[in-house]
């Protein structure tokens, strides 16, 4: 039976390195109000993300009205978060928080093209909350797991592409296909980032190293 109600968009878990590479955005229909998605290079779409990291710097970059930029760092890179007059709660958290601090952010991916033609990806926050280091660590592990799941699905799809014609039995992977068409960076890069992120968690590395 089908879902009658409009479902809420899930908040994807994605590390900064992959998020910042998600430069292609698209809609699924021509409807004006259709949701906007960022294409993740590991083959999924994201209308919303949940990120946890260290707020290292805040700055009001607005001209006439306040427009706050925050740098939020995870083990793989930096998220850029922008909040202005239309995100008053998030803007006030950026204004009032003294970095460094662990923050959890729910927000939407936004892209903009710079003067030199490159595309930057940033987060437009819905909420920003101050959290503790346990929450940060949990997010790193959770995001590693979700990212590995995406990579696995991508590689299964990829293997099918090389199989002889007609032998394919794997389900289609629409967004892996799209990522292959739109992006150059191999998904292997994001697997390395996952390893790096997990290794950055304290107490983990030595024991796991022994079993490799």
């Amino acid at each position: 039976m089908s879902q009658a109600q409009l479902t809420r968009e899930v908040a994807r878990r994605v590390f900064a390195s992959e998020f910042n590479d998600s430069t292609y955005s698209f809609k699924e229909s021509d409807d004006e109000r259709a949701p906007n998605y960022a294409l993740l290079p590991t083959g999924d779409r994201a209308n919303r993300v949940f990120i946890v990291g260290t707020l290292t710097e805040t700055e009001d970059v607005g001209d006439e009205s306040e427009y706050w930029r925050g740098r939020v760092v995870d083990p793989t890179g930096t998220f850029f978060v922008y909040a202005g007059q239309y995100q008053p709660e998030a803007a006030s958290v950026l204004r009032d928080t003294e970095p460094p601090a662990y923050v959890a952010i729910v927000g939407k991916p936004r892209t903009y093209e710079t003067d030199d033609g490159s595309v930057n990806v940033s987060v437009r926050p819905e909420t920003i909350a101050i959290v503790d280091d346990d929450t940060r660590d949990r997010w790193v592990v959770e995001t590693a797991e979700r990212t590995l799941d995406r990579i696995e699905a991508f590689e299964e799809w990829d293997a099918e592409q090389e199989a002889p014609e007609g032998a394919s039995t794997a389900p289609g992977n629409e967004y892996a296909q799209m990522a292959r068409e739109r992006y150059d960076s191999p998904v292997e890069n994001y697997r390395r980032d996952v390893i790096q992120a997990l290794e950055s968690l304290e107490d983990v590395d030595t024991e796991a190293q022994a079993s490799v």
Binding site: M1, V10, F50, A104, A129, T135, V140, V141, L148, R191
Partner: protein, 309 residues
């Protein structure tokens, strides 16, 4: 067969058990609406069907709209589906209206659901604790909660077997990513059995009333794969936030504004990971058991997997 004739045939079939309908008469009525009055076919069908319903003294529920299929209670997630259930009568409640013969709760191994049996459907009486095969019941929805209705086309058969009834409890885990409007310190309608949440001091049913304060949270718990809506009632909200109803009222009084309570709560809970267990109502999980996930996490297994990929 022409298009109109086909529709006329469908309608004729639906009523053949109840009414002596002439298929040409059905076609004539459809043609008039479609050709002469330029009514779209689905609207014309609806109108003609209603005409015969009235003539036969039937309700829409009484005529089957095609075949029904076997289903479990947990599958019910859409109104106006015709299904067959094998279920146990867990409880019978007092009907509130003369048009209802029996009302109560059915259960099968996948969960529980409310049922209503119409007085005019003239079906055998269901016994509490009895297990029945119920063929051709129709699903209904009210405010996100589903029920099934037994009607005059339903076939009831008592089964001589025991049926284990599962509870609808689910367990969800994830980060609390949003708190929805209608959370925090709210006012409910004080009328008997109403308890609707007031909007600007007004109850949808009873108009302007002197509301009673209550605490609740409507939140979204998200694990990166699914977003679940969770409801914390007064007790769960007090335990989660450490703010009692009395304290919440004092806070609102001091600020001359009830929204300060929601603001305070949102700061405490958004961005935190929880495991929540409780019964499901439609798309909501009612938070009976709440555990904050703040212990250490195991990254080793994942690291081994990542290295071996």
């Amino acid at each position: 067969m022409s298009d109109v004739r086909q529709h006329a045939d469908d309608i004729h079939d639906q009523f053949s058990d109840h009414l002596d309908v002439d298929i040409d008469d059905v076609e004539q009525r459809l043609t008039t609406l479609v050709d002469e009055y330029k009514v779209p076919m689905d609207e014309a069908r609806r109108s003609v069907t209603n005409h015969y319903l009235e003539e036969a003294g039937l309700e829409r529920e009484d005529i089957a709209g095609g075949g029904s299929e076997a289903a479990n209670v947990e599958d019910v997630d859409e109104p106006e589906q015709w299904i067959d259930l094998t279920a146990k009568v867990i409880e019978l409640w007092e009907p509130r209206s003369d048009s209802i013969a029996q009302v109560g709760l059915l259960g099968d191994p996948t969960g529980t659901i409310k049922f209503t049996k119409w007085a005019k459907s003239d079906l055998p009486s269901l016994e509490e604790g009895g297990v029945y095969s119920l063929q051709n019941v129709v699903t209904d929805e009210y405010q996100g909660r589903y029920s099934v209705k037994l009607n005059s086309t339903t076939v009831v058969e008592e089964l001589d077997e025991e049926l284990e009834v599962g509870d609808d409890t689910s367990e969800v885990e994830g980060a609390l990513v949003d708190m929805q409007s209608g959370s925090g310190l709210i006012k409910r309608c004080p009328k008997d059995d109403c308890t609707r949440v007031l909007q600007n001091g007004r109850c949808n049913e009873h108009g302007e009333v002197e509301g009673e304060f209550d605490l609740r949270i409507k939140g979204v718990l998200d694990d990166g794969i699914d977003a679940h809506e969770v409801i914390f009632d007064k007790d769960a909200t007090e335990e989660l936030t450490g703010i009692s109803l009395e304290e919440a009222k004092d806070m609102a009084m001091d600020a001359l504004d009830t929204t300060v309570v929601a603001d305070e709560i949102i700061e405490k809970i958004v961005g935190t990971y929880y495991r929540i267990e409780g019964p499901t109502f439609g798309r909501y999980v009612l938070a009976d058991n709440v555990e904050e996930l703040d212990g250490p996490v195991d990254a080793e297994a994942l690291l081994i997997k990542a290295r071996s990929m």
